[in-house]
Structure formats: structure tokens, C-alpha cells
Amino acid sequence: MTTGEATKTRSAALIDGIKSSTWGSRIAVVLTALLLILLLVEAGQEPAQFTSQLLIGLTNGAILSLVALGYTLVYGIIELINFAHGDNFMIGSFVGLTVLSGTILGLNLFSPITSGSDVLLRIVGVLISLFVAMVACGLLNVGIERVAYKPLRNAPRLAVLITAIGMSFILQNVGLVWKGPIQVPFPELISNANILPSDAIIFRWKDLFVVLVTVPLLVALSYFIGSTKQGKAMRAVAQDKEAAAMVGINVNRTISITFLLGGILAGASGVMYGLFNGITIFNVGFTQGLYAFTAAVLGGIGNLTGAVVGGLLIGVIGAMSDQYIGASWTPIVIFSVLILVLVFRPRGLLGDRSAVQGGGE
């Protein structure tokens, strides 16, 4: 009897929810449902291609969600849209590429690791380049915070955002000087071959590699934030800086650690992006950064689970748009998602902090 009661109240609550919803959200739900149906019809026609595209989208989304986490961590703690984060990601891919080339600062340390190298050497090379890029980007992010954002801690919010845009341009030009204005190729270290036995659905070693790097990083991050003392301090500072300082938390150090974490994730993501897509370019951080920011907003900025969910969703949306609308329209589709989410549901899907003035908190 109790279960029946529960379902009844649940359905009643659902009806109430629909009754109290605004016309805007009703239209949004109907349109989203229409889009999904259209997509499923397309999927029904060529299920194998759809599945492959879905897998590519999820892998790209995993890379994006690491960058999105950087945005969301920093936003959660100091409410700054760290515009330079995307370019940090680009620097990460450049650092990884440089490590793999074996020539660092003009010193020829070892011969370049290429697709012809031994399997073991390739694995070690990838791990080392990931590690170096993570350390470099983490420190770079901390450095940027110290130099550019810390002096403006009490300044208007938009002043810090302008500084972040300035830093973004500085990093982009560092990349331009470093590797030149054209696309630079990444060595094909991870096989493009399909793992799955059938040729219809494609899941490559590359995709597996991205999953194998992303999942441990996410687990480690969630352990760090959920269970360590420093993670607790981060959550406390995010809630209330003054109260956190009063109970003896070093706020500045905590903010630095947040930037360090964001940078580490961006570094890993940058190297993976290069290895996965085979190329990188000095302005890759701008578009990828905006995509990742869209992902963070879609999931609910300040919300870590939201960043991952948003990243995966944006990855899938991008892959579907590549397949069914056309690759040249993908940026427009994703930026439209950004605008629509900010206008109609600024809290994001999972919701955390309100983007509308006067709301939330």
C-alpha cells in the first residue's frame, strides 16, 4: 500500500511540477525531445555509425571534462572565469609534444619517440610527457594566479576577468612563438586500430587510452576533494572565505592549490588531446577552452560532477553535430548551447551557483 501511495504522490508531484513550469521551459523540453527523436531516427538508419560517433563523442568529452573541471574548480572557489585556462591546456599539449621530441631547451636529451619506436618506450614516453605536462601546467597556473589574479582579489569581478583575457592572449602568443602559426603534428604513438572484433563499431586503442587516463584522474580528484584535509579546506573556502580564514585555513594557499589542480588536469588533457587528434595548434586553447567552459556551465558551474557530465554531453553534441549537421557548424551549435543554457538555465543541469544576480547562495 505504501508503495502505491509513494508512486501516487510522485506522479502528483510530477503533474504539479509540469503545471507550475514556465512556458519557456516547456518549449525547451519539447524542442529537446524533438531533437532527440530526430537523432534516434538517424541512429535507427545506421546504428553502427551512430554508435561509433557516440564513442568518439564520449572520448572527446572525457578530454573536455578535464578542462571543464579546471574552470569549475576555480569558479567554485574565487568566482572567476579563468579565461586563460584554455590556453594553459594548449601549453600542456605543447609541453607534451616537446618532451616526446626529445629536444628540450635546445638540448638533445634522447632521440624522438615516434610511431616506429618500441612499444615499451612508447608507453614510457607517453607517461613521462603526461607527467611533465601536468607538473608544468600546474605550476604555470599557480604562477598566473600569483602574478595576475592575487593582487586583484578585492577588485571588481570584471577587472579580474579582463586580466584573465590578457593572460590568455599572452599565453597564446607564447605558443605562437614556440611552435609557429601552423598546425604541428603529434607522433602517432597510440594505435589507431580498432579493439572491437567487428568492423562496424569502432573503439580504438586511442579511445581506450583516454579512458584509462581520465578515470584514475577523476577518482584521484574526487578522493582529494572529498577525503583529504586540504580538500576539506577547499570546500570550506569555496563556501565562505572569511569564515574559513577564521577557523585557521590558509586561504591563499588553498586558492593556489585549486589552481594547481586545475592546471594539472589541463596539462593531462592537453597531451591527451594531441595524442588523440594527432595535431595541435597555438590557438587550440581558445575554442577548446570555450567548449570546456560551455561544458562547465551546462553541468552547473562550481559543481564537479556537473563538469564531467557537461563535458561528456558537449563531446557527444559536438560529435553528433559533426556527423549530422556538418563540422563547420559545430562551433555554432556548441556556442548556441552555451548561450541557451546561460539564458534559460544559468544554474546548469545539476545546478550549483546561480548566475543570475540576486539569486542563489
Binding site: 578585492n154 577588485a155 571588481p156 579582463i162 547562495e361
Partner: protein, 394 residues
Amino acid sequence: MVARIRKFALPAILILVAFLFPAINVFLENTADVNLMYPVIIVAVYIMLALGLNIVVGFAGLLDLGFVAFYALGAYVVGWLASSHFRQVSISFGTTAVSITGGEPPGIHISFWLILIIAGAFTGLCGAIIGAPTLRLRGDYLAIVTLGFGEIIPRFFQNGGDLGGFNLTNGTIGIKAIDSPGFPFLPDSLYAWQRFGTLDLNPWYYTILVLVLITIYVNIRLRDSKLGRAWISVREDETAAAAMGINPVTTKLWAYAMGAVFGGLAGAYYGAFIKNIFPTSFSFNISILILSMVILGGMGSIYGVILGAIALQGLNFYLLPQINEWVHAIGDAVGSAALSNADVPKYNFFLFGVILVLMMLLRPEGIIPNRQRAEELHDQDPGTGDAMGGSGRA
């Protein structure tokens, strides 16, 4: 009386110099062999853009990172209405365009002066349409939304060569051979004014000068108007302003639409002047360049913004090529191939990035500050306002 003279002396002298500039330029060309006409016209276009953005960023305190969208829209309006792009139709009205074969030239050809009005109205309307749903958002989110629009519109122009078979924007090739402005009814003795040519740039110069003066006039009048005071109050503390009976959304919408109008006018002029427009010339970098001008000069300060535009375009046109030569000379002397082949002007946005960071860290109110703005920017009390004024941190 003396104070009145003093107040108007500097602007009067500056306007006089601006009107006599073509004569000064002829003198410079004869003595020093430099022709400043072309760069000065481009600088003037940017002054107009920067003053338009100043209404949004300086007066209303909204950070607009997609201003280039309106510039692009203005340029495409002139492209659509004054070229042979739409070959399907043949409409002419007060145009300077003539058909080689006689008869009506293909495409839409409307008088440039009419197009200016259309472009201003169209971009203003677009600004209002874009702004209406988004201006509820908090400052930093609004900045990102404007950035999104600033990215979407040029990309749309890039993809708009085939919209279900209809060629709206001619894709990456862009719209070519845009008609020159002119006054076709003038007597033949004023040939240069009948149809603005590429050899005699004086008519172009005077046109943009008048446009810039209109922009400055509107800026001053807006700043001192009831709306201008509403902008200040919304920028300083939106909640308090709303409590005093100011509708923050309409107030911001006016700023956004006014800024868009001037962006569109500048775009229309630029499109006609440059004659061929491409979607790639309207990138995010241009938005940031204009923003840097406003910030370097001083947000909300009209003299400051003009100075910022002149300084940064001067940097682009003269200082960077000069530095480039110095770097090459150093490279040749040291024997470093990397230095002697370096292309310094390519890295100009490094400099703009540095300018943004340093100005925000050291002098957020700009070179020639607006007094009220300076006080707001140095307000160390978090908790008041949200836009560029106070910090609004929780």
C-alpha cells in the same frame, strides 16, 4: 566667460586640426614623404568603434567581448545592399554604381547614405534582440554570452554561402566589389565627391570625420543625460538603482543597443572603404583590440578612449614595423637567423594582452581617467555593486 572659453578651447582646436588634416598631410607628403591618409582613416574607424564600445563598457559597465559581431553585421549590410551579390534582383536607388553594358546593374545598389541609416538601425535592433534575454545575467556571464555571439556571427557568415541552396554571405570568399559612396547629383567639377575613389581619399576622410564627431557628440550627450545617470547608478549598485525606480534591464538594453548602432555604422563605413569583406577579418581578436583601446585610454572617458584608439593603432601601423626592423638589425649583428627573420607585428596581440593585464593591475582607470570611474575601480569595499563598479563578491 573665461572658464567657458577654456572649456571649449581644447575641443575647438582639436576639431580644427582634424578638419585641416588633409592640408597637413599634403605638407607632410611634400616634405617628409609620408602619407598618413590611409592609416588615419583606419584609426578613425577604430575611434568610432571604441567610442561605441565605451557606451557599453565605460558608461553602463557591461563587459562586451563580442563587439566585433556588430562591426561585422554593419559591414555585411553594406555588402548586401551595395554590391552585385544578389544577382537575382536588380534594384538601384541613388547609387554611384553603373553598369558596363548600360541599364540597371545586377544586384541591390542603394545610396550609401541610406545604407548607413539602415545599418545603424539594423545593428541596433540586433543588439536589442541579443541583449533582451541575456542582460538579466550577471556581469561575467554576460561577458561570455556576448563572446558567444561574437563567435557565432562571423562563423555564420563563413558558413552562410549555402543555406539550403541560398547564398547569403558567399562563404569564406566574402562579398566583393562593394560600391563607393558618393553624391551622384553633384556637378562634374566636384568629381571626387560624385563617387569616392581610391586615389583621392579626402572625401573618405571627411565622411569618417563627420561620423566620428557625431559619435563623440552622442557620447557626450548620453553621458550627461538622464539615461547616462541611470547607467552610472546601475553600474555602481544594481539593486539600489532598481530600488530607486530604475529598470536595470531596459537601462542596460539601451546601452547595448546604442553601442551596437555605432559598431554597425563603423562596420558599414569600413565595408565601403575596404570594398571586399571576408568573415575572417571579424575575429575575436578585433573585439579584444577594441576593448584594449577603451581600457588603455580609460573606461568612460571620451578623450581617453580616443587616445587609446590612436595609441594602439599607431602601435600597429608604425611602432611594431619599426621594432621589427630593430630586431632584424640586432639579429643581423648578432648573427642569429631566428631574430633577423622574426616577424614582430605578428605578435601584436602579445602586447595587447600585456596591456590588459598591466592596466588592470596598475591603473585600471586608464591613462586619462573618468574621475567617477576611477573611484569606483579603487573601491576596496566588497559587497557593493556587481558590474565594473564594485566587486559584488559574496
